[in-house]
Amino acid sequence: MSFKKCRDLILGIVMLLFSGFYLINAFQIKTRPKLTPSYASAQIMPVLLGVLLAILSVICIVQGIRKMKTADGTEEEGKKKDKGDIMAVVFTFAVIIGYILIMPTLGFILSTLIYLFLQMIILAPAEKRNYLLFAIVAIAFTALVFVAFRIGLQQLLPRGPIESMLGF
């Protein structure tokens, strides 16, 4: 069964679980009954929201099941639309997380250079991968941004070996 077909059902179930989790925590909020009456406590809105989301989730689940029953004929169409580039998304997520993890130690300049270069390779179609161009763009853009923000706008950026070498 394709993802598109049972999407609403999955969404409804996830949201129902989330509303349960939210409600459990909402009931644990410490209120101050002496300070504010119960009808205006810090708990009232979270409880209302949790209940509202639970109701919406149930509607979503019912709609999802109905859609699954009727959507047999249209599946072909859905498949075509769903055919995106999943690997590019996974790699993009990976380099972004890597970028954020290495930035505190390698500093802004070095980590940005590496990130830009890798990300362009991931996003570019195979026949348009021009490594020299990507390297030049990565260096030029990093330099431009560093000068503009660190020197021009005095904005602090994570420091690393290159920043120490340059004396920032």
Binding site: T36, A40, D85, Y99, I100
Partner: protein, 506 residues
């Protein structure tokens, strides 16, 4: 101080060498963001926020308003030349814009689009200058009851109207509201949903949430298609073009159409939840239905300037409209104005009726910036067109990584540490998931922003009324807004049901 003095003061604040320089930059960058499909006005403002941190609030708002105006107008370039709307605001511009290009009238289409974008902005800004102070004067007497109802009204409008699926729209709004409850409670001071983490005590930062959801989510989403997307740009021929490429007769023929479209744009801008994406379509439809020249000139959609005029006047007039609730009540109607709200808050300004009393200079500075920026836009977009068209050919695989780096700097600068960068990434992942599940992200953002307004005013109102809800219903203004909210929900609900029954019959 008289209104005239205030307006003069506004121009004086903005018309400095720095102010003019910022407006030039803002309009130029805005046009580029508007023209490039996938980049939007919201993103342009998000990326430029860190640049404004060190500026005065007037300079910051000058830059951001210039970006806003440039970005809404810039969408027409790609709509006409590429047949791809650069922003949702210029979808209807494609309908007649591209047929005009095929007839060899690219310069005329662009000229008309640019000039009527300009007129739309001017029209709505002038109206804004007269309407907003009056509304602020009335709103100054609003209390908890009124603000609660206005917040609920705005939320329902956004949740029901901004997406095709009402259940998902409301769901997104509720989840956004839920995220806003994280942190220290504003009234009782108790911790809510912080799970013992100190970083969560202050709640989620509005800007980190927005940059994550819109910019980062957008970039991850673009990764899916960027390897297969190649768009050809037609270079327009400017040979032998005089003035703006159309005759005086053609201009005067369009005045009534333009006025009607501007009024539609302004009205839709004022209502929360339906912004430029709707106004250009609606103005186009009205122009098409009331067209008297269909027989002799062919119907709209075959390359008539009427279509471009309707769409471009309306979407730019929406800007002035959207500024009305933002400035007078502190209520953003769409994501772009939500960004502007974030920017104002960042600079220590609280939009709302008091802003007109306490910081009138900033308010009138914004008005002046809107007027001057649209003049800059008019000339820059027409005479600098070749440059913008060149920029359209920058491939996405180079552009998007650079945009992401700017997002990271912006998030880092919020607290000068990595915490907001991480938050930004989490909301980016959420934005991507929303996209895949077809949940609209606009109600999420507005639930996040308007939620606290609704909650605090509800609780304050309940304390004031000793625990009864009746004053919310007996205060006339509050009652009207609540009634409209319920009416909109019922109307959308029955509409959906009827459509389903119809589909079932077939």
């Amino acid at each position: 101080m008289s209104t005239l003095q205030l307006i003069g003061g506004g121009f004086a604040t903005v018309l400095t060498p720095t102010g003019l320089f910022l407006m030039f930059i803002g309009v130029a960058v805005g046009i580029v963001f508007g023209a490039l499909p996938g980049l939007s006005a919201t993103m342009a403002i998000a990326l430029f926020l860190p640049v404004t941190y060190a500026m005065t609030s007037s300079n910051a708002m000058t830059l951001l308003m210039a970006l806003f105006i440039g970005a809404i107008s810039g969408g027409l370039i790609s709509a006409i030349l590429l047949h791809i709307p650069g922003t949702p605001s210029s979808v209807a511009t494609c309908f007649d814009g591209h047929p005009l290009v095929r007839k060899g009238q690219a310069a005329k289409a662009l000229g008309v689009g640019v000039v009527f974008s300009f007129l739309g902005t001017i029209f709505s800004t002038v109206l804004l200058m007269f309407i907003a102070p009056e509304i602020a004067r009335v709103a100054i007497n609003f209390g908890s009851y009124e603000f609660f109802s206005i917040a609920i009204f705005s939320l329902t409008m956004i949740a029901t109207l901004s997406s095709g699926n009402m259940v998902k729209g409301i769901m997104a709004g509720v989840i956004g509201f839920m995220f806003s409850t994280v942190g220290t409670d504003a009234i009782e001071g108790t911790a809510r949903f912080t799970f013992g983490l100190t970083t969560l005590k202050g709640g989620f930062d509005m800007l980190a949430v927005m940059v994550g959801l819109f910019a980062v989510g957008e970039i991850i989403g673009a990764a899916e298609t960027s390897r297969h997307n190649d768009e050809e740009v037609t270079q327009p021929s400017m040979k032998g073009v005089k003035g703006f490429g159309f005759s005086v007769k053609e201009f005067t023929d369009q005045l009534w159409n333009a006025l009607r479209s501007a009024a539609i744009g302004m009205g839709i801008g004022i209502l929360p939840g339906i912004g430029g994406g709707t106004s250009n379509m609606m103005a186009y439809t009205v122009a098409k239905n009331s067209d008297k020249h269909a027989a002799e000139r062919g119907p709209l959609g075959t390359g008539r300037i009427d279509g471009v005029v309707a769409s471009e006047t309306a979407n730019n007039a929406t800007i002035g409209g959207a500024m009305v609730p933002l400035l007078t009540l502190g209520i953003p109607g769409d994501t772009t104005t939500a960004m502007l709200l974030g920017a104002l808050t960042l600079h220590g300004l609280t939009p709302g009726p008091l802003l007109f009393q306490n910081q009138a200079d900033v308010v009138y500075g914004i008005f002046a910036a809107m007027l001057i920026a649209s003049v800059i836009m008019l000339f820059m977009e027409f005479f600098g067109l070749r440059v913008f068209v060149k920029l359209l050919s920058i491939p996405k695989y180079i552009l998007l990584p650079c945009v992401f780096v700017l997002c990271v700097i912006g998030a880092y600068a919020l607290k000068n540490n990595m915490s907001q960068v991480i938050a930004c990434l989490i909301f980016g992942a959420l934005g991507f998931a929303f996209k895949k599940l077809e949940i609209p992200s606009t109600p999420f953002i507005l639930g996040f922003i308007l939620g606290p307004l609704a909650e605090v005013n509800y609780r304050r109102g309940m304390i004031r009324s000793n625990g009864t809800f009746i004053p919310f219903l007996t205060s006339p203004i509050s009652a009207v807004f609540l009634a409209i909210a319920i009416f909109v929900i019922l109307l959308t609900g029955t509409k959906t049901l009827r459509a389903k029954k119809k589909a079932a019959k077939q």
